[in-house]
């Protein structure tokens, strides 16, 4: 790193750094808070800390405490140490549930991003009906998730569901029971989750796409880049931070996506669509094992923090590039 001027002498370089550092410290000291100002600042910050403590630290602490306790939902909390952890590991359901949660969250997030990027590219390239598409694709996102889930679960019913009626009319048979089979039940939920959420991602990515300076594209055109090359070599790298942020958010949102799955299958048939939030809900409210439920929340939370950290890191490195 070179701070002042250009030279090949390393001793001059280090001297420059040292002087700059001293200047910076002095400057900081001048703008630093004196004791009275610092106290005032703390007083003003206090409400924020209180809010953070009450709404963030306390629930986290309570979840951690519950995760090592036995509590049926009422009455005293009994400390059981690592018993809940043993129970969770011994129960094969947890690992199955974790696996399908990851499959669900990543599939939905990936498909949303893929579709949103394609739509954004199409609309930003000036495709006919672009404005109409913006509205149409955003519509499903406005509907309440429960209503969306009920609509689609009815639509997917064999014979009478609109999806099966459509499939019958195009010669593909109208007796498909996708939600009624353990092997296929997750796919329609993934489809519906993508359908309901793609509009938001599309609009955000479209915004990022349209903010790419025209001059860069023009330069690419002069250099002979075709439309596909302009998108893959210019637009996509420039909007990567936004795409990565949305991708991370979609993973987190769908990882916690209780409503859609519950309204469509209640985690069934069997436990085939029992994602972690549903597993935790059943543990707490059906079986009265709030400790195990809290533990599931803790494990899921830790995983999501990791995902969030990776997403932020990738997004930042994409910005630096």
């Amino acid at each position: 790193m070179r701070v002042v001027g250009k030279t090949d002498d390393p001793s001059i370089d280090s001297l420059s750094i040292s002087l700059a550092s001293k200047k910076r410290k002095k400057a900081n000291k001048n703008v630093g808070l004196n004791r009275t100002n610092a106290r005032t600042a703390w007083v003003f910050l206090l409400p924020l800390f209180v809010v953070l403590f009450v709404f963030l630290a306390l629930p986290i602490f309570n979840s951690l405490r519950l995760s090592v306790s036995k509590w049926p939902g009422v009455g005293p909390v009994k400390y059981v140490g690592a018993a809940n952890y043993h129970r969770l590991v011994e129960q094969g359901n947890f690992f199955y549930s974790a696996r399908i949660t990851v499959i669900f969250a990543f599939s939905v997030a990936f498909l949303i991003i893929a579709l949103a990027v394609i739509l954004a590219a199409a609309v930003s390239s000036g495709i006919r009906g672009g404005k109409f598409m913006k509205v149409v694709w955003f519509f499903p996102g406005i509907a309440p998730p429960t209503a969306v889930a009920i609509f689609w679960s009815s639509s997917l019913q064999p014979d009478s569901g609109i999806v099966n009626i459509f499939l019958r009319n195009i010669g593909l048979g109208g007796n498909h029971a996708l939600l009624g089979s353990e092997r296929t039940a997750l796919y329609p939920i993934i489809f519906v989750a993508v359908w309901a959420s793609v509009g938001f991602a599309f609009l955000v990515i479209l915004g990022a796409t349209e903010s790419v300076p025209v001059s860069i594209r023009e330069a690419a055109i002069i250099d002979g880049a075709n439309v596909r090359q302009q998108f893959t070599k210019i637009t996509l790298p420039l909007i990567r931070p936004v795409v990565l942020t949305i991708f991370t958010l979609e993973i987190i949102w769908n990882f916690n996506g209780f409503t859609m799955v519950w309204a469509m299958t209640r985690g069934g048939p069997g436990v085939s669509t029992e994602i972690l939030p549903i597993y935790a809900y059943k543990e707490a409210f059906f079986f009265g094992r709030f400790g195990t439920a809290a533990l599931i929340a803790v494990v899921a939370g830790a995983f999501l923090i990791l995902i969030g950290a990776i997403g932020t890191r990738l997004s930042r490195s994409a910005q630096v590039e």
């Binding site: 009422v74 064999p158 939600l179 009624g180 299958t265 209640r266 059943k282 059906f286 009265g288």
Partner: protein, 465 residues
Amino acid sequence: MKEMESNMQKIFGITRKRIAGISALSLIGGMLVVAGYQTSAKADALSTGPVTITVQYETSATGDKEWHAVAAAFEKLHPNVTIAYSPITNDAKGGSNLQVLTSDGSPDIGLIPLNSNVYTQMVAAKQLVPLDGIFAADKTVKRIGPPAAALKTDDGHYYATPHTVVWYNILWANPVAIKASGVQLPASQRFNSVADLIAFAKGCQKHGYAGLAIGGNTNYQASWMLDSMLPTAVSADAFHNYLNNYKPSVPVTAHYTDAGFVNTLAALGQLAKAGVYQKGYLGMNVDQSTALFTSGKSCLLLGGSWMPGGAFADATKAGTMKFKPTFATLPGVTAGKPASFNPYYGDAFGIPTQSKNQAWALEFLRYFISDEGQTIGALNAAGNVPAVTTIPKSALGVLPDAVKEVMAFVNKVGAQSGWTSETPGAFSQTFINPLIQQIQSGSLTPAQVAKKQEDKMNDVRKNGL
């Protein structure tokens, strides 16, 4: 600060000492108000002042009609009382309702299914007001009859009262579809064997009808059938032990890995494998399976005695149901030993200790299960069979014909307690229902499920619910 104080003193004549005095007085006053409020709530011996009692009922059942009718009569008797309502969904009543009923925002009368985790935990934590007074004073035990014995908890108290008796595992039949299919219900209205039901369903399917419509994705219908069929596969002693062996004090004489239990699970798997149910049943709820039946597309529907006065009446009124249903029982697991319907008293009402109007809530609940209240609400308004047996038979004439026929059938052949409705849900229904769905899907074998239930019993006996 000093400047501000002196300004205050100048303007209002307030000094620091006065502020401290006023604060102390306010604090004491506030404490007195809170204490007085708490005292009045506890010692609310039918106060004559205005009282509002909040009642919880299930949205999807006929609870609203029933409670509204009884409430109107009660409000007439007690003009100072107003009844407010707090509807709750079928999903929530046995689950997250525990948090509602144990919170300070609890309704005065709560809906508490007896086989739910809510009831188990509230009784264990002493969060329900004993109803012993109601049960003793009005001879309610005698009026309800033998099922009242199950309402008495291990600590000798009654904490909840049923309001109706319903029968479930009724196979409602569409005579039009059956005739068109060229099949026949057994003359005894009882399928003799699993093979008989399979043959019947296949006959219906050949003619474009679903055999038996069930709400396969609910958290109860898959395990319901176990209730009807299990008593036909095991001895009476073994069945009695199944009803109680989750309690550590009861010796285990019947294991879930025994042949009778496994055979019952296998029969459920056999029905699924043979395609007795409608296509996609594991993705359908009861409303959807009922609609399939009422619209005439299924020969049979798995349901209960509340349907004629509810979904069937609504569909008939809307013109979508164009036939008068008949009924039959599920098949027995052991050929020649037919199954029967199961009674359910389980959707009971109780008073949470968090209720702020306990005295009036007790009075209202007492009226609710009096002969008068039962006639007004359960019978006349909801079209259900009252939980008490002391209503004159002549009054039962208002029940839908199909319900009266079911009652006559039950009087003739008897009914059988249901394992999932008489044991805590966290031990039986909630636990085994998804496992039976997995048998139906073919991903678990009956023996595997039986082993899981046996392990569950051992776990509950050791660690409690």
